[in-house]
Structure formats: structure tokens, C-alpha cells
């Protein structure tokens, strides 16, 4: 049996009508069970045959349950508190729930467990048929519905998707797909016709009166699926949003009326409005005191439809919106008439959905191609957050979006366009010390952010003392160390995407990283070279003890150096600043290493996190201001030999999976999380699936101050019930124990417990030291399908090297890319789409843009099929 998509496998769940044979067989079955289980069995038997059960099916099912289930779910054992020998004691509701869960487990191949004897495909189908006969359609629907959600994507058989056996014509179900938070913001900006800097500004800070009604789930993996739907919560938020947006539309329009009355904002503190906002149809209504004409009302409706939905109102829509305006006009003034119409259009569900139903005639497979207008939006939203550009709209209007070649032309054009979608990857990262990366196609970076899940680092809080006080938790005005490393992960992802060669292999296996990346290399070299010159000139002077004298002597020289800024005011004397520089230079040039090209006493300086990459630290300003307090031991401290050219190689680290952002995101507040890390690899790279932790499991790692975390994890997950899932996670998660929960490399694990305290620190300059035990980073890889790669691994680096070489891993990433661009799980009928995308990647030398082009010109992307109930 394979785990195909719902449509291919739901049909076997046919209802079978019981015949007269039933009564005879019931007696037979009862006898078998009575012989095996005694008195309890009689109750089972009557439940094995329902009014819709084929008696033969019942007999088969009875045997199958007896052979494969009863040992663990019968009189002797009741694993998971499930037993099939006392069905008669269950209420009808519990009975249906149990069989429904059983059906799911059998369908998904979760039961029987892997280490137990397995039924044949035929037997599994028989069991499913029997279970179906006891359940109504709702159970099948429930199963089919589940298959639409991200967590179930990997249930579709990987080999079948890629071995070419499936030749079905691909399609996507006709649908409405909720817009993403980013698209929502763009749509609101469109209502206000914002452009250029006004638009950029809003992207940075958002609208004062608009709350984004959409929240992406926080788990790693593709999150923007078509499964979302508008509900009460969205409506409540949108009602307030619509009121604010419509209010601003009207306010801005009134401001633009020539010689119009003076207008004040409703809220004096919220005085933003779109500049030069002059929809003529609105002006016409607002600038007259009499009742508007029907033509004016119609023009206003079309205008609001255009601003909000990018189309004109249909005749039917015109009729109802006209009714509303007339009706409001009976009790309100022209402003109320216009405001309420604008509000009503903003509350249309269409404003919040992407519409993809297809248009025109169905082909022989029952599919229709996206209408040109739908195609224009689908293409544009695949590549960015904005709606179609002028050229794409034009192509749609002129009938030039109807063939694969048309799609390819537009997709390639927009991928080559450096400006249309240009923007920051994640404005939330902007803070006092960091700015989010700007790139031509931020949405491509967002795919890899979703896939790797490293932005979740911002949800982890650490005790800074455990990292020498150099870890800063997110707080007001800064996203702290998590934000900094997320941004640096964005930088390297963007760098690989922009180079567009062997993208997957590099993201997994490259040893290149950005850390701080303070300025372009050229500028950095110029600064450091000038500093070095100053150091060489002054190093033998008594700059520390007679700084005033030295400064006076070299004042003109120092003033000529642009990279040196000596403050001269009431608080600061230039000779003191000179001394700060020289102390800083002594720490670096004096030891033959390169300093960062900014000084630590620069306003807003927050560069403390190099240690999470396993690099030496960078100095703080306090060190130089309080030089006299720095102990002799600390004065000799080694700092990072800064890399002016970035990205640069960091030894013993490979790709995103050893990037601190990923490691922190996949850690606990206080510990690593080998299980989460292992699960990620199993599900995202090996196309495997791990069921959710059963609610009956108390998933706690035992406390023991004298053992490593690995030991304790292994112990608690070794129980037979746990092992069946953890066998997929632990061997690929434990190798990451070579990194601690901050991302620092380590060979020893500090046993952070009062029992193991060796040295107590003050928590500011000195920190607690604990006894340690060596870490064991060994593990094992299985599931790549390549005997050259599967096998024992010595550590995470070894594991990553193997993963980066695996075809299976590459295909798994392609599957996730498919989900990102299609907004849904793959079905078996998408097999050709996936194979083509994989081939495109390989043939192009690892171009992700080639994957995008392939996906966006596939049948899966272009065709829709209307699926009935």
C-alpha cells in the first residue's frame, strides 16, 4: 500500500451492503473469538458486522485485527489505552471515534508499528474497507481534510512522486487562498495608491490603524497554505481596519478638494493620510452639498472596486451597492454615503482572498486553466507580495497569458527584474543595531526562512549569564542576539540565492557566513588601514600615561584621519578619546589581528554575539572606558580577528544547520533540543514523518546533574513505545550536541547545576563555571536511499556533508518548494511537476530560479479543477 493523496485512495472506502450471509457468519466469527478470548469476545463480534458490512469483509477484518492488533490492544495489553476487545462497552460516540482513529492510523501506515509484523497492502485495504463500513462519510472527509494540512504533506509516498510511474495530469483544486500578512499590507497600500518612499515607509512601520488580521503559524516548514479561511476573528479585526481605512480615504480626499472646507483629523495624534489622494469620483460626491447623481454613485463604486479589488464592479454588484448608498443617503450625508460604501467593499472577502477558480472551457481531464487575470495575480504573488505590474496586467488583458510559453516569458521577466519586488526580507528585524537585508525578491528568501525555520530563534529566551553576558534577549527597540543572527542567516541565504548555483548544497554545506558585516570590504579595509597607520605612528609614544601631551603633539595628524573621531566638548576631551582608540588598537594591531571597522564606544554599538559562532568575542566599550579596572588576565584577552571580507569561512561549521540562528531556533531556553533538530532533519530533508507526541506521553527529560543531556534524552526515549518514533529523530539530532543551545561549538558539556559549580561568578564580569563531561556527537543517517551516504556519522558536520550530497534530500527540498509556490501539499498527480522541477534544478547547476520557473509553468500551477463535495 502506498500513502497516496486523498482522491486516489478515498474511493476504496466504499460502503458494502450486508447480505443474508451476515447472520451465519456472525455466529462463525463469534465462535473464533470466543475460543481465543473467552467471554469478552462475544461483545466484539456483534460489532464486527454492521448493517453496511459485507460479511466476508467482516471475517477478514476479524482475522486481521486478531493477527495484527489484539496483542497490543486487547485483554493482555492496552497500549495507548486502546483495546479492541471491549467495543461493546463504548458509547456510540466513543466507538466511532476509536474506529475513526484506527482508520487513520492504518491509512497513514502508523499502525501496526514498524517493528511489528506488517499486513500486506491487500490486507490493509481490507481492514480499511471494514473500518469504513462502520463509519459514515464524515470520517472519510475528516481524513481527506487532514491531508490538506502541512503536517501531513509527507504522507504522500516520496518514491511514487519521483519514480515517474504516475502520469496523471496535474492540477490544483479550484480555490480561494487567503492572502499572506505581507500581501494584505500591500493591498491596503494599494487602496491608498501609495508609491515610492511613502510605500517603503509604511512597509517599515505599518499603518497606525490597521491590524493585520493574519498570523502565520510559527512552526518551521511552509506555512502559507490555502487551507486558511476567513472567520469571526478576521472579521472583527477587519471591521475596525475598514473603518480606519475608509476614514482615511475620505479625509485625504477632502483635503484634496480645491477650496474645500478646512478639515481636521478625527484623532489629532493620528494625522497620517495618503498624499495627493484625489479619486475624482470621491471628490465629485464630497464637494457637493446636494444628493449625488446615479452616475456619480456608480463612478464612486467602480473607483472603490478598482482601488480595493483591482477590477470594476459587476452589474449585480452595482445594483446592491447603489441600494446601500441610496439607503444610507436617506439618513446620512454624502460623506456617510461614501464612507459606508467604501467600508462595505473593504469588507468583501475578495479583499482578503486570492481567487483561483480557472476560466473558460474544461479540458478532457476536467481542468480549466487560470483565467488571464487570475494568472497575472498568481504569478505575481508567487514572486512577491505586490499584485501584477503594468506589463503583466497588459499581458492578461491582451490574451498573452494562455500558454506555458506565456507564463515562462512573464516569470522569467519578473525574476530578472531587480526592482519591482525589491524590499527588505523582514522589517521586524529593523532595530537600533540592525537593518533587514534588502534584495530583489524577498519572497524567495522567505521560502528558505520558512523551510529552515530559523526565524523562530526570536521566540527563544536565554539566560545571558550562561553566555558571558553576551547574549541579549529581544526587548523593546531591539530583537537582540536572536534578531542579529536571524539577520545574518538571511544574509547568507540571500547571498546563495543571488549567486543561484548549487543553492541547496551551499545552504546545507557551505562554510561561509556573515558575522556583523559592518560595511563593504573596501570601506572596511580603508578604515582599518588608516587605523593601523595611526597605531604604528603612536604606539611607541607614552599615549597611555601622557595622553594630553601626545595628543597635543599629534593633533593635526589625527584630525587628518577621517576614520578617527575625537570628541571635544564639555564632557569629553580629545586626548581621552585618543587613548580609547589606542587601547582598542593595542588589543588588535598590538596582537597582530584585525579589529572591527567600528569602535565599541560608537553610539548604538551592540556587537557582542560573535561567540555564538564559536569565534572569539569582540570587546565592549566598558573595557576601554574602565581600563584601569580590567584585570591583568583580562588585558591579555584575545578578540576576534575580524573578517573584513564577508562572507568568510568559519571552521567546523557547515551551512544553515550549524548556523546559530537555526541552532537557537531548535533549542530550549536552557538546553539544546536534539529531538527537535532530529525531527526537522527527518521531516524536512528526508521526507519522513513523525506523529505528534501522544498525549499519554509525559515527554520530560529526567533531571540528573551528573549526566549529559544526551544521556538523559537517550534514556527517556529508549522505552519501546518511544523508540519507534525516536529512532527517526535521535540519530540525526544528537550529532548536533557538538553545539550548545547558543550555537557555540563545544567538546565538553557544562553540567549547569549547583552541585557542579566550580567557580562562582559575579554575573557581570565573571561567570559561573561548572564541571563538564565530554559530549558524544555521533549518530547515524538512514533514509537517503543511498548506501554510500547512509550509515554511522561521527558528528553533525559529517552528517551535513552526507545530507548535502543526497538526491533524496534535494527532492525533499523540491517538495517543500512546491508547497510554498502552490500553497498546498503535493498529490500523486503532481508527480510530473515535481520531477520536472527536480530536473530543472539539476540541469541548471543548482539554480533555484530554474525551480521557480519550472513550478510556475507546470500544470499544477496553471490548471484548476473544481472538486465537488
Amino acid at each position: 500500500m502506498h500513502n497516496g493523496h486523498a482522491e486516489n485512495t478515498m474511493n476504496p472506502f466504499l460502503k458494502i451492503i450486508a447480505g443474508l450471509w451476515g447472520l451465519v457468519l456472525i455466529a462463525g466469527i463469534a465462535l473464533i473469538f470466543w475460543m481465543k478470548y473467552g467471554e469478552d469476545s462475544g461483545s466484539v463480534l456483534e460489532l464486527f458486522v454492521s448493517a453496511e458490512t459485507d460479511p466476508e469483509v467482516a471475517v477478514d477484518a476479524q482475522h486481521l485485527i486478531s493477527n495484527y492488533c489484539i496483542d497490543c490492544h486487547g485483554p493482555d495489553k492496552q497500549k495507548g489505552k486502546v483495546r479492541f476487545d471491549q467495543l461493546n462497552t463504548l458509547s456510540s460516540e466513543d466507538y466511532v471515534e476509536l474506529l475513526s482513529d484506527a482508520k487513520e492510523s492504518v491509512y497513514y501506515g502508523e499502525m501496526p508499528p514498524e517493528d511489528e509484523p506488517q499486513p500486506t497492502d491487500e490486507e490493509r485495504e481490507q481492514l480499511l474497507a471494514w473500518l469504513s463500513s462502520h463509519l459514515d462519510d464524515s470520517a472519510d472527509n475528516k481524513l481527506a481534510d487532514k491531508m490538506r494540512y502541512p503536517h501531513y504533506g509527507n504522507l504522500v509516498d516520496h518514491d511514487l512522486l519521483f519514480n515517474g510511474e504516475i502520469k496523471d495530469e496535474a492540477y490544483t483544486p479550484a480555490r480561494r487562498w487567503l492572502v499572506s500578512p505581507q500581501i494584505f499590507q500591500e493591498r491596503v497600500m494599494d487602496v491608498f495608491e501609495l508609491e515610492g518612499r511613502d510605500r517603503d515607509s509604511i512597509k517599515q512601520r505599518g499603518f497606525y490603524g490597521v491590524v493585520n488580521p493574519f498570523v502565520m503559524p510559527s512552526q518551521s516548514g511552509v506555512r502559507d497554505y490555502d487551507t486558511g479561511e476567513l472567520g469571526g476573528g478576521h472579521l472583527l479585526v477587519m471591521m475596525n481596519n475598514a473603518k480606519w481605512i475608509a476614514g482615511k480615504q475620505i479625509y485625504a480626499t477632502k483635503l484634496g478638494i480645491p477650496n474645500g472646507p478646512k478639515v481636521e483629523p478625527e484623532n489629532p495624534k493620528d494625522n497620517w493620510y495618503p498624499r495627493d489622494y484625489e479619486p475624482q469620483a470621491f471628490i465629485d460626491i464630497l464637494s457637493q452639498s446636494g444628493k449625488p447623481t446615479e452616475e456619480q454613485l456608480i463612478a464612486a463604486i467602480h473607483t472603490q472596486f478598482g482601488l480595493t479589488l483591482k477590477r470594476k464592479a459587476t452589474d449585480q454588484e452595482l445594483e446592491v451597492y447603489l441600494d446601500l448608498m441610496r439607503s444610507v443617503g436617506e439618513i446620512g450625508d454624502n460623506e456617510a454615503v461614501l464612507t459606508k460604501m467604501c467600508t462595505a467593499v473593504l469588507l468583501k472577502s475578495e479583499f482578503l482572498y486570492r481567487i483561483e477558480f480557472g476560466g473558460g472551457e474544461s479540458d478532457e481531464y476536467g481542468r480549466t486553466m487560470l483565467s488571464p487575470r487570475e494568472a497575472a495575480f498568481s504569478i505575481s504573488y508567487a514572486l512577491g507580495d505586490q499584485g501584477p505590474d503594468e506589463e503583466l496586467f497588459k499581458a492578461a488583458e491582451e490574451g498573452r497569458l494562455q500558454t506555458k510559453a506565456d507564463y515562462r516569458r512573464e516569470v522569467e521577466r519578473l525574476l530578472a527584474d531587480e526592482n519591482y519586488y525589491r524590499g527588505q526580507v523582514d522589517p521586524i528585524l529593523n532595530g537600533s543595531s540592525a537593518k533587514s537585508v534588502v534584495t530583489s525578491h524577498p519572497r524567495i528568501v522567505r521560502f528558505f526562512r520558512d523551510f529552515f525555520g530559523y526565524p523562530n530563534a526570536s521566540n527563544i529566551f536565554k539566560d545571558p549569564e550562561r553566555a558571558e553576558g553576551r547574549f541579549v534577549n529581544p526587548r523593546r527597540g531591539t530583537t537582540g542576539t536572536p534578531g542579529a543572527v536571524i539577520n545574518e542567516a538571511d544574509m547568507i541565504v540571500t547571498w546563495h540565492i543571488e549567486h543561484d548555483q548549487n543553492v541547496f548544497e551551499n545552504l546545507l554545506g557551505s562554510d561561509k557566513y556573515f558575522v556583523y558585516d559592518l560595511m563593504p570590504a573596501e570601506k572596511g579595509y580603508a578604515t582599518v588601514d588608516e587605523w593601523r597607520e595611526v597605531w604604528e605612528k603612536l604606539k611607541d609614544t607614552p599615549w597611555e600615561t601622557e595622553s594630553k601631551k601626545v595628543y597635543d603633539e599629534y593633533a593635526r595628524y589625527l584630525a587628518s584621519k577621517k576614520s578617527i573621531s575625537l570628541r571635544d566638548n564639555r564632557r569629553r576631551k580629545p586626548e581621552n578619546d585618543m587613548r580609547l582608540y589606542m587601547r582598542f588598537f593595542a588589543d588588535h594591531f598590538g596582537k597582530g589581528i584585525t579589529p572591527m571597522p567600528i569602535v565599541p564606544w560608537q553610539h548604538g554599538y551592540q556587537k557582542h554575539h560573535s561567540i555564538v559562532y564559536g569565534l572569539p568575542p569582540t570587546p565592549s566599550s566598558a573595557r576601554y572606558y574602565d581600563w584601569k579596572k580590567v584585570s591583568e588576565e583580562d588585558r591579555d584577552r584575545d578578540f576576534w580577528d575580524y573578517a573584513l571580507e564577508q562572507p568568510f569561512s568559519i571552521p567546523n561549521r557547515k551551512g544553515i544547520l550549524s548556523h546559530p540562528a537555526w541552532l537557537i531556533a531548535h533549542s530550549h531556553n536552557f538546553q539544546t533540543d536534539p529531538i527537535k533538530r532530529g525531527r526537522w532533519i527527518h521531516e524536512k530533508l528526508l521526507a519522513g514523518r513523525v506523529p505528534d507526541t501522544p498525549i499519554t506521553v509525559d515527554a520530560q527529560v529526567p533531571e540528573d546533574p551528573h549526566r549529559t543531556f544526551r544521556d538523559r534524552v537517550v534514556e527517556v526515549t529508549s522505552a519501546p513505545d518511544c523508540r519507534k518514533c525516536h529512532i527517526h529523530m535521535n540519530p540525526v539530532g544528537l550529532p548536533f550536541e557538538m553545539f550548545d543551545d547558543f550555537g557555540r561549538s563545544r567538546s565538553e558539556e557544562q553540567l549547569e547545576h549547583p552541585d557542579n559549580l566550580i567557580k562562582t561568578g559575579d554575573g557581570e564580569l565573571t561567570f559561573n563555571t561548572y564541571s563538564t563531561l565530554p559530549i558524544d556527537p555521533s549518530g547515524a543517517l538512514s533514509g537517503t536511499g543511498d548506501p554510500a551516504l547512509d550509515g554511522d556519522v561521527k558528528d553533525a558536520i559529517d552528517l551535513i556533508d552526507r545530507l548535502a550530497k543526497s538526491d533524496h534530500v534535494r527532492q525533499s527540498i523540491i517538495r517543500h518548494a512546491f508547497r510554498f509556490y502552490m500553497g498546498r501539499n503535493e498529490m500523486l498527480s503532481d508527480s510530473q511537476t515535481l520531477i520536472d522541477a527536480d530536473r530543472a534544478y539539476v540541469a541548471s547547476g543548482g539554480s533555484f530560479k530554474a525551480v521557480i520557473v519550472s513550478l510556475l509553468t507546470s500544470d499544477s500551477f496553471m490548471y484548476r479543477k473544481d472538486l465537488k463535495d
Partner: protein
């Protein structure tokens, strides 16, 4: 697949401020409104800025032994009978038997310091970014248990400065509660706007009536159009469209129900002095009193069972304080020990807190004076009022303490009445956090959640158990 039932569940959480009132839905309307049903429990969260200093809550009549324990932060519990309350708490003297002074909770999982945003109600580190809102705050979780037409009402004397400005303190702004992840709630900043929005269905003001009518027309149009769309679709897409239509319809139904409540709402509509409605003459104390009156009305009329009231925040400018009528007191400066008008900072803190106690007294007394909807006892019997700081123990707080003054009616299942309780201090075995306290509340009233709130990494560090309710309060 979401269903109409799911919508009802989510929409019930959605009570914030807004001029077009979306809110529930009467699936479980209060008995007085629906005609029958269980008596709800009411919860009122009143929080203040600038910290609440634990030592100010210690009854002065405590023995030296108790005072020593207090000083050393040793755990103990004392019956409040026979003890006098601190002077500033004098207004609560008449509610002595319902009173609990709860000391020793910590809130290091919260943002601390000057401002804390949704931290004190959510038990997580929040900031001004909506993205920092991790989950619904505890007041909204409790509101789920006792649905009401408005579900939840938030009122706030907003800060106008001090790093957490809400801009327009007279209007409807993002509050300190959250409806869900990344979903801020909205609060009413002035008695005027709260009156307009909450009572517009019974308003005598012609313009307000017309606006209400026009909003209804808009919703009816949206409902009609979306139903047309749903009828054109099949399968999942049909259900999706229907869900939105049902959402709109539910609000229309809710509004109709509120209209049906108009008699009872009119009966309890606050009668505020004109000065409270005019922002030019409104002192901070008037604002507090006006918002308090409105809150009392919404609770008594059954419009909501849960209310959150920000009596002040660090950036709230204070005017109208007794003996300081001519001063505009800046709480931040009080936090830095600056005096005003001849009073030192501690005395002004006492004056401010005394004013808060007046508000609490008014709330409790009014609920006590109102018969419960089933005729058994009074409304306060089924009410829990909590007064606490939004940021912990002091002006520059670090969250080691988070004092609570609790007033609970006789029917509360919480075993804390009439006690002064000091819990084990932070880092000591048995210590309890804000999360434990909120978990206790939720568990006691029917939400079996294992733990509400984020973990304190400092406690986490040494494996100190910090999940679950405070068992002794549930015993």
C-alpha cells in the same frame, strides 16, 4: 475546517473596542438576558503603572516576628482578622472578609522595567510590537469560560508620554490585553468614547443612532453578497464562504440581541457628570472614576463578565490628586523619588494607590448592592477583582515580586479569602510565578490548562518546577 461553531468560539474572544461592534453572539448569554442559564463569574483586572511596592501592602499591625519574616521574604500566611490595613487601603476596610493580599509571586518571564505592554496579563515578554503578543492574555482566557455579549471590555487611562505613548488618550487605542497571538485588544481611553461606543444601541443621540443604523446596513449588504458567493461554490470552498457569511450574520444577530437588552442596559446606563464627557476639563481622577462607572454598568447589565482597567501607566499624566489639584504629577518622576507640592514621592504613591482603592471599593460595593441574576445573593458573590502592578515590584522592576490585592466573592472556589499570603521567594523551592497564579485562576474556573504563561529561564536553569497551579489555593 472551521465551522459556524468554531466561529462562535473564536468570535467570542474577539471583544475589543471598535466603533462597529463586533462581539459575541449570545450563544451563552447571561441568564438575565437569555432567560435562563448558569450564573456567570465576573473577573475584573485592575492594573497600575510604576510598580506596586510589596512593603506598602504589609498590615502595620503585624508582630515583629511577622515583620521579620516579611523582611526576609520567608513564606507565611496569616489571617487578616484582627489586623489593620495599610492606610492607603482604608477604603477596603468594609470588604475585609473578601480580601487577600498575595505577595511573593514573581514575573521574570515578563518584560519588566518601565513598561510591560501585554506582559502582566499574558505572562510573557511583550513589547510595543504586535508580533510580541504570543497568546491571548489571561482575561481573555477567562472570558471564554463565561461568554457574554461583549465578552470582554477594556478601559484605560492611557499613557500620553514616557516611552509608551498611545497618542490619543481620549480615543480607542491598542490596550494591554490581547485577544490571541499577535492580536492586540483595544481599550476605551475616555468616558466619552466608552459611552458612545458601548451604549450607542441605546443612545438618545440622533447622530449615534443613525451611525448605528448605517453600520447595520453595511453588515447586511456584506452578509447578502457573501451568501451569494457561497451559493456559487462547492465543497470546501462553499464551506469557507459560508463560514464568513455566518460570521457576519452572527454579528448581526449579536447586535439584535443587544438591542433586545436595551431595557436592562438603559436601566444601568451610567449617569456621568458633564465634566467627565468634556476632555478639556477632565482630570485624571475624573477619567478614572468615569471609566470605573462605565465598567460597573457593563458588568451589572450583563454586557460583559470580564473587564480590564488600566487605572494608570507610567506615562499617564496625573491631575486632580487630593492636595495636588494644581499639579500635573509625572509618575516617572515619582518613581525617581521626586516630590510635588510639598509631598514626597512615597506619600504621593500612597495618594495614588488610595485613589485606586476608592475605585475598587466603589466597584465592589456596587456589585454587593446588586442582587445576583438568579436572585441568590449579590453579584459580588460571583466576582473576582484583582488589583496589581503592570510591571512588578517597583519603578525599575526586575520581576522578583508581583503583588496582588484580590477581592473575591463568597462563591469563589479559591481558598485564599481573608489572608495575607507570602509565598516562597524567587529561586526557593515552592516559589510561584505569575504563570502559576493565572493557571490557578483558570483551573479553578474550569480551564484545565497545564500552565498559562512563559517559563522563567532563571528558574528553568536549575530545574525548579514552575508549571501548574498553586495547589494550596485550590485545596
Amino acid at each position: 475546517m472551521n465551522t459556524r461553531r468554531n466561529f462562535l468560539k473564536t468570535a467570542l474572544l474577539g471583544v475589543g473596542a471598535g466603533s462597529m461592534w463586533p462581539r459575541d453572539l449570545f450563544a451563552n448569554a447571561p441568564a438575565a438576558l437569555a432567560g435562563a442559564g448558569k450564573v456567570p463569574t465576573r473577573f475584573v483586572f485592575i492594573h497600575k503603572g510604576n510598580g506596586l511596592m510589596p512593603h506598602t501592602l504589609v498590615p502595620p499591625s503585624f508582630s515583629k516576628d511577622l515583620m521579620d519574616k516579611e523582611k526576609n521574604k520567608q513564606a507565611y500566611s496569616v489571617d487578616l482578622d484582627g489586623h489593620s490595613l495599610p492606610d492607603f487601603m482604608a477604603p477596603l476596610a468594609g470588604h475585609h472578609k473578601n480580601l487577600t493580599i498575595l505577595q511573593g509571586l514573581s514575573g521574570k518571564m515578563c518584560t519588566t522595567g518601565h513598561h510591560t505592554w501585554c506582559s502582566s496579563l499574558g505572562a510573557y515578554k511583550a513589547n510595543e510590537q504586535i508580533s510580541s503578543i504570543k497568546w491571548a492574555t489571561v482575561d481573555f482566557e477567562l472570558a471564554k469560560l463565561y461568554p457574554s455579549p461583549f465578552e470582554h471590555i477594556e478601559l484605560a487611562c492611557f499613557p500620553s508620554g514616557g516611552g509608551n505613548s498611545r497618542g490619543n488618550i481620549e480615543g480607542i487605542e491598542k490596550g494591554f490585553s490581547a485577544r490571541g497571538p499577535q492580536q492586540p485588544n483595544y481599550a476605551f481611553g475616555s468616558p466619552k468614547v466608552a459611552m458612545q461606543e458601548l451604549f450607542k444601541s441605546v443612545s438618545n443621540d440622533k447622530a449615534a443612532q443613525l451611525m448605528y443604523e448605517m453600520d447595520r446596513k453595511v453588515l447586511e449588504l456584506v452578509s447578502g453578497r457573501e451568501r451569494v458567493i457561497s451559493e456559487m461554490l462547492d465543497g470546501i470552498e462553499h464551506q469557507k464562504a459560508l463560514n464568513y457569511t455566518d460570521s457576519v450574520d452572527s454579528i448581526l444577530v449579536r447586535n439584535r440581541k443587544i438591542e433586545e437588552m436595551s431595557d436592562i442596559i438603559r436601566q444601568h446606563i451610567p449617569k456621568l457628570p458633564d465634566a467627565y464627557i468634556n476632555s478639556d476639563t477632565l482630570s485624571t481622577l475624573d477619567r478614572q472614576d468615569g471609566l470605573n462607572e462605565i465598567m460597573i454598568s457593563t458588568l451589572i447589565s450583563g454586557m460583559t463578565n470580564v473587564a480590564t482597567f488600566t487605572v494608570d501607566e507610567l506615562g499617564t499624566p496625573y491631575t486632580g490628586l487630593p492636595k495636588l489639584e494644581t499639579e500635573q504629577v509625572n509618575l516617572h518622576e515619582i518613581g525617581h523619588n521626586k516630590g510635588y507640592g510639598g509631598l514626597d514621592a512615597p506619600a504621593i504613591r500612597d495618594t495614588v494607590c488610595h485613589q485606586h482603592m476608592n475605585l475598587v471599593n466603589k466597584l465592589v460595593s456596587r456589585l454587593k448592592a446588586t442582587p445576583e441574576i438568579n436572585g441568590e445573593g449579590n453579584m459580588f458573590d460571583n466576582t473576582v477583582v484583582m488589583y496589581f502592578p503592570d510591571n512588578g515590584e517597583t519603578h525599575h522592576s526586575v520581576g522578583t515580586e508581583w503583588p496582588f490585592v484580590v477581592l473575591a466573592g463568597d462563591n469563589t472556589p479559591l481558598k485564599i479569602g481573608r489572608r495575607y499570603i507570602r509565598l516562597p521567594k524567587h529561586g526557593v523551592e515552592g516559589h510561584k510565578t505569575l504563570g502559576n497564579w493565572y493557571t490557578t485562576l483558570l483551573n479553578a474556573y474550569g480551564n484545565p490548562i497545564d500552565h498559562f504563561g512563559a517559563m522563567d529561564v532563571e528558574l528553568d536553569k536549575f530545574g525548579i518546577h514552575q508549571k501548574g497551579p498553586i495547589e494550596q489555593f485550590l485545596a
